[in-house]
Symmetry: C2
DNA sequence: CTGTTAGCGCATTCAC
DNA sequence: GTGAATGCGCTAACAG
């Protein structure tokens, strides 16, 4: 391997004390121009990089933030993380990212973060109601930004207006004449699930229709095979849904497979709406009407709030909620019994 | 915030010295059962978490590995990263992930990693040929696993057999009768690009056909809009391709958009193959024939190689290459002029 | 088996 | 403006 060059080596080469090197390297501290120049030269020659541990130990700040999500590979998260990381980089922070494996590792990970004295946390829990996780989070002692979660904690939040979004989606389907709608969503254990369900139910209510119009199937396991078998089952019922609303991730893939397996055609036999405008929704056959929101902006904002809080530039806790927009494609038409013309 | 409890506090409460606490907390070190018990109790009562900086400073190991990719949100990377992170977690490592923003930040990030004394690196460069980046990598002094890159460095590697894959894809298209194939791929600045191009060219050669059968369009910008306009242009030529091969990421999305914008039908008017079996390829209209490889296994293996190397259990440098498999779907048929029957 | 001492590499007092 | 001493929290020698 290599020799780790330390501040003393630089000092020796530059013919100054190590405190001078430290000062020369720190922009907002006294140091003559000449000293800075000599130090810079020595640093370059030696390829010196300060040891961040020693710095952190001294300064009590790691310039690292921890990010915990249930699954990094979920495209909805990946986009957010990418944008957040970019913003953090600009501000000189590094980001640690950790999969909580659908919640099972949340406690361990949070403790890991604590040991490393993360300056801040970007978190999306797998279950808003787990008291033990909440407790750890509460006395973690560092700024926290919640990603689309709603737990009883003093912290900043960014989220999506899923309620309004689901309301819009379901209203749209009702207006087309659908009276048997299946909503496939993550469970009410997390905010998006709860809000979505509430929004969908409100739409039915406001339309003066009975609750039975809406069937909610909420999942903890969001994987493609799991959703596949669930939708398959729903399609097998005598009163099968005429429209399905589902997340635009692997859940949409599972749903589309199940529809295909049943030899149903979209939209003639069944309408589909994707929650989240993924490339999958855009290019599926046919294009899937989707609820869109700005993932990049969300990630960036989360990072922004966190940075401001860490650097003491933030006041009262803020909640930024992003609106959604319904993108119409060809996957939705009135239910078969209302369709006129050919067939 | 909160009071940071340190080892001394635990020692005091347990009525022992801080070295005893340290020992009691470290499994492979002498300590009586009674001591361990008392310390454990004090730790629990105080909610003590050792300061990882102090530990790292002392032990000269961060138990953190740095991962740098051009874009975390690229589903092909996201999957790999997720799997690698899971394996690293098992081994007690945390993973820092950083976007190199298509290469522009590689140098900075590598230096950041060095400051933090990462125990190992998982890296995929944006350009295999940049000498400055290579130099930094070379004397980074820590174990490195290259993800599908091929640079002149002593390190472990995991990769995909893109050459064989591209060979298979192009051979297949040629066998269908295509004589004008467009390959959309990342540039020859990176291994996958080079290998792919070489494999495709070999397939043409081995079929005894002239090189002009294959048109390679290699990109540095892999974004959807960029590929869209490129493909649009290619489709506008008098001798437009009868088959397109493209990456299954945003590039595929861009390609499909361009085809759609041209009102061409897949596969009647044009055949399409996706390199990488993404959900997009699976559910596009119609299903896109795709080249598949095991991303999860690749990520996991990368982590594995790195861990073994860090822990001194590795000998000579290894290169693990994953095979590809062609998944046939409905997006490929003989070119229009060879099709019989209707139309 | 346990307590005492020292030092990991750096930033920061305090003198000069 | 710069150098000498001190300590961030921890683990590893060394004694006992």
């Amino acid at each position: 391997m290599k020799e780790p060059v330390k501040i003393g080596d630089v000092a020796k080469l530059a013919g100054v004390s190590s405190s001078s090197v430290s000062r020369a390297l720190n922009p907002d501290r006294y140091a003559s121009e000449e000293l800075r120049a000599r130090v810079a030269e020595a640093v370059a020659k030696l390829g010196y990089e300060p040891n961040a541990f020693a710095q952190s130990l001294r300064v009590q700040s790691s310039r690292t933030i921890g990010c915990m999500v249930s699954d990094v590979a979920n495209p909805l998260y990946a986009e957010i993380i990418g944008a957040a990381e970019a913003r953090l980089q600009e501000a000189g922070y590094l980001m640690v990212v950790a999969n909580s494996q659908s919640g099972s590792r949340e406690l361990d990970l949070l403790n890991m973060f604590r040991r490393r004295r993360m300056d801040g946390l970007l978190v999306t829990l797998d279950d808003d109601t787990r008291e033990d996780v909440l407790a750890v989070l509460k006395d973690s002692g560092v700024p926290l930004v919640l990603l689309d979660r709603d737990i009883n904690l003093s912290c900043d939040r960014v989220g999506v207006d899923h309620r309004q979004g689901a309301y819009a989606v379901v209203s749209y389907l009702l207006s087309l004449g659908h009276r048997s709608i299946l909503l496939e969503t993550p469970s009410h254990r997390v905010r998006p699930g709860r809000e979505r369900i509430a929004g969908a139910e409100a739409a039915v209510r406001d339309a003066g229709l009975p609750p039975s119009v809406l069937k909610v199937s909420d999942h903890v396991d969001l994987s493609q095979p799991h959703v596949f078998s669930d939708v398959l089952q729903e399609l097998a019922r005598p009163s099968r849904p005429t429209a399905i609303v589902t997340l635009g991730t692997a859940m949409l893939a599972g749903t589309l497979s199940a529809i295909e397996a049943n030899r149903l055609r979209i939209p003639e036999d069944i309408s589909v709406v994707s929650i989240g405008d993924t490339t999958l929704a855009q290019f599926a056959a046919p294009g899937i009407t989707a609820l869109r929101w700005d993932l990049k902006q969300l990630g960036r904002t989360a990072a922004e709030l966190l940075i401001e809080r860490i650097e003491g530039r933030a006041g009262t806790y803020r909640t930024v909620t992003f609106p959604t927009e319904l993108v119409l494609r060809r996957s939705c038409v009135p239910p078969a019994e209302l369709q006129m013309g050919a067939k």
